[in-house]
């Protein structure tokens, strides 16, 4: 074997790169090379966000108003949380069709317990426990017994609708009288709170970036250019600053002022942060991706595949309950029919954002971006006064398109053999 470096990178004979080499330009080139190979990541969703925002701003005078801007974020919060929840099972190439109704049933339990005088935090814990238990049972059926997740979660989707009816009696809406829960989607942080939130986000991102660089340097490894981190932080500061600024303006049409970042936003950001930390920096996260990529390889490496699968289903159901909590907070009532349709939007959001249905590929932030895309479509078409029918057709088309892109890019990244 002679020294055939199959790549353009100029390396000394003994050096193997780590992808951290080179200046900003090299890094950008490497990024586009990955995109070309089918690792598109957040690119399609980000593009769609920009195009849709431009389109709806042009078509509707109401789209870019302060009130609608805040509305969009609040509307997207619930879908974002559900999409994030679903990522954990999608990474295993599984699906949980029952996540929406499971959240509905859990919130029925919340309603019943709090109505009978149980303090709301205990009610909330009970609701989350319902999610944990349902997730465990689903995971057990899928991982231990081997029932396809599509079938067992469809069974739960139907069965839990029945449970909701039994719990709440026949039909109707039931008011949830818990101010703390109502506040999540309806109240806002004070003006300074929004800026504090932005500062915390920037500090945490910057701090973690610097810590990682420090660790690499201490091990004698090459770092990406520092300017890359600074550009990323500057980008976050500008976009985040813009969002906080607009949300801090008075968006009320009446005398009573409404301003500030909705309380739900820091909660969603915290969920994204913790979930991403779990997936990217812990053994569990690594093993989850491994099981999603090649279960047999994971098993041979000594990973407890069954345990990973069951845990993923438990996380999905529990986070879905949080999404259900947001829903109840917004509309203020529980009903037996809750959560029936939203789960498919959640799957759509994740896939549109770039989470692969074939497992092993995707990040939480992708699901969040996808949820923004779906929410903007929903919101924008609503403002144009088009019927709900059109909205469904468009969302369905977008999902079909995203799934196609997913399948094609998977072929591309898996099919090419270069030496």
């Amino acid at each position: 074997m002679t020294n055939q470096n199959s790549t353009g990178l100029n390396l000394a004979a003994q050096d193997i790169a780590s992808g951290h080499e080179g200046g900003v330009v090299d890094q950008v080139k490497a990024y586009f090379a990955r995109v070309k190979n089918g690792e598109m990541g957040a690119l399609p969703a980000t593009g769609a966000l920009l195009v849709l925002t431009a389109l709806f701003s042009y078509l509707s005078p109401y789209f870019l108003t302060k009130l609608n801007f805040a509305n969009l974020f609040v509307q997207a919060a619930q879908l974002t949380t559900l999409a994030i929840a679903l990522v954990f099972v999608l990474l295993l190439a599984e699906i949980d069709l029952s996540a929406g109704v499971a959240a509905g049933v859990a919130m029925d339990v919340f309603y019943l317990t709090t109505t009978f005088g149980v303090p709301w935090p205990i009610g909330l814990v009970s609701a989350l426990l319902v999610g944990v238990v349902l997730g465990f049972v689903l995971g057990f059926f899928v991982a231990k017994i081997g029932v396809p997740s599509f079938v067992i979660t469809l069974a739960f989707f139907l069965g839990l609708q029945g449970v909701a009816l039994i719990l709440l009696g026949d039909g109707g809406l039931f008011r949830v009288e818990v101010p703390e829960v109502r506040a999540i989607m309806n109240d806002n942080l004070p003006v300074w709170g929004g800026w504090l939130l932005l500062a915390i986000v920037l500090l945490v991102s910057g701090g973690m970036g610097l810590y990682d660089r420090y660790r690499r340097t201490a091990s004698g490894l090459v770092n990406r250019p520092l300017s890359l981190l600074l550009i990323k932080l500057a980008f976050m500061a500008v976009v985040g600053g813009g969002v906080v600024y607009v949300l801090n303006l008075n968006r009320s049409a009446s005398v009573k002022e409404i301003s500030g970042v909705p309380i739900v936003i820091p909660i969603v950001l915290l969920i994204i942060f913790l979930g991403t930390f779990l997936l990217d920096r812990t053994k569990f996260g690594r093993h989850l991706y491994a099981v999603g990529g090649n279960p047999e390889a994971a098993r041979r490496a000594g990973i407890k595949v069954v345990r990973i699968r069951i845990t993923a289903f438990m996380i999905t159901s529990s986070l879905a309950v949080v999404a259900g909590l947001f829903h109840v907070s917004r509309i203020g009532v529980v009903e037996a029919a809750a959560g029936r349709t939203i789960v498919l939007s959640g799957v759509a959001a994740a896939v549109v954002g770039g989470v692969s249905l074939f497992g092993g590929r995707g990040r939480l932030i992708h699901a969040a971006l996808g949820a923004m895309v779906i929410s903007i479509i929903d919101n924008g078409l609503g403002l144009l006064g088009l019927s709900a029918g059109i909205s469904f057709v468009v969302t369905g088309t977008v999902l079909a398109l995203a799934a196609t892109v997913d399948a094609v890019s998977r072929k591309r990244s898996g099919g090419i053999r270069r030496s």
């Binding site: 055939q4 193997i16 660790r215 090649n294 047999e296 000594g302 092993g360 090419i416």
Partner: protein
């Protein structure tokens, strides 16, 4: 010659009435490449599965570094320092090279993944094998060629400080250039003091890289002979049963 890393004495294995291994002897030495050849059904896979602990032998003695051992599960085999690189490689395409090399053995720092340490060790393991075809250790395995994947799988065993590496048909799916790369890699692996056992159907490869050749024929070890003392024609004879050591 020094003591063998692994020695099998009169190893037997049956599946129901079918006796697959009928008393097999085998010695594999450190720093040497030993070939295990034989026609389909000769018992190669069964022999390997016994060594890797997947399917323990029924009877016979297994000596590891001169000590008698009873290998009854894969984890124990791995702890002894026996690593098997299967034909299908068992890599996760969605993970990068470092992540694959440390799969199931991730190193932690304060309960989170210690990426710099793993990246450094993976790089060193690849460098110790003089691997030059891999662009970046943070490349996803999906972007690697068959030969590069084989390289990663072999380097993984180096990382685990294996004393005996068993390669199952390492060149079966590879083109000419990549076969050459992998054979060189196998040579360097042996040069670093590891005992290597290769299962192969390709006698040209076997003669190129192996120090000695063991031939299984219908569950019996026909011969274990140094490569320099035999010819391809003779080995074919041993494999097909038209030639025996007495001839």
């Amino acid at each position: 010659m020094s003591n063998p890393v692994i020695e099998l004495r009169d190893v037997k294995k049956s599946f129901g009435p079918v006796e697959v291994l009928k008393g097999v002897n085998l010695k594999v030495y450190a720093g040497q490449v030993t070939a295990l050849v034989g026609d389909n059904g000769a018992g190669k896979s069964t022999l390997i599965k016994g060594l890797s602990g997947v399917q323990p032998y029924d009877s016979g003695t297994v000596l590891f570094d001169g000590q008698e051992v009873d290998i009854h599960d894969p984890i124990q085999a791995s702890q002894l320092g026996i690593e098997v690189v299967y034909q299908d490689l068992a890599l996760c395409e969605n993970l990068d090279i470092v992540q694959n090399m440390f799969l199931g053995r991730e190193e932690l720092l304060q309960k989170t993944l210690d990426e710099p340490s793993m990246e450094l060790q993976a790089t060193k393991a690849l460098q110790s094998l003089s691997v030059r075809t891999v662009k970046s250790v943070r490349q996803k395995v999906s972007s690697l060629s068959g030969g590069q994947r084989q390289t990663v799988a072999i380097a993984r065993s180096v990382l685990r400080n294996a004393k005996l590496v068993i390669l199952d048909e390492p060149t079966a799916a590879l083109g000419v250039a990549q076969t050459e790369q992998v054979l060189n890699l196998v040579q360097r692996l042996a040069d670093s003091g590891v005992a290597v056992l290769i299962i192969s159907h390709n006698l040209a490869d076997v003669f190129k890289v192996c120090d000695d050749i063991s031939v299984l024929y219908l569950g019996r070890m026909v011969t274990q002979i140094e490569t320099t003392e035999t010819t391809q024609n003779d080995v074919v004879g041993y494999i097909t049963g038209t030639k025996s050591v007495e001839d």
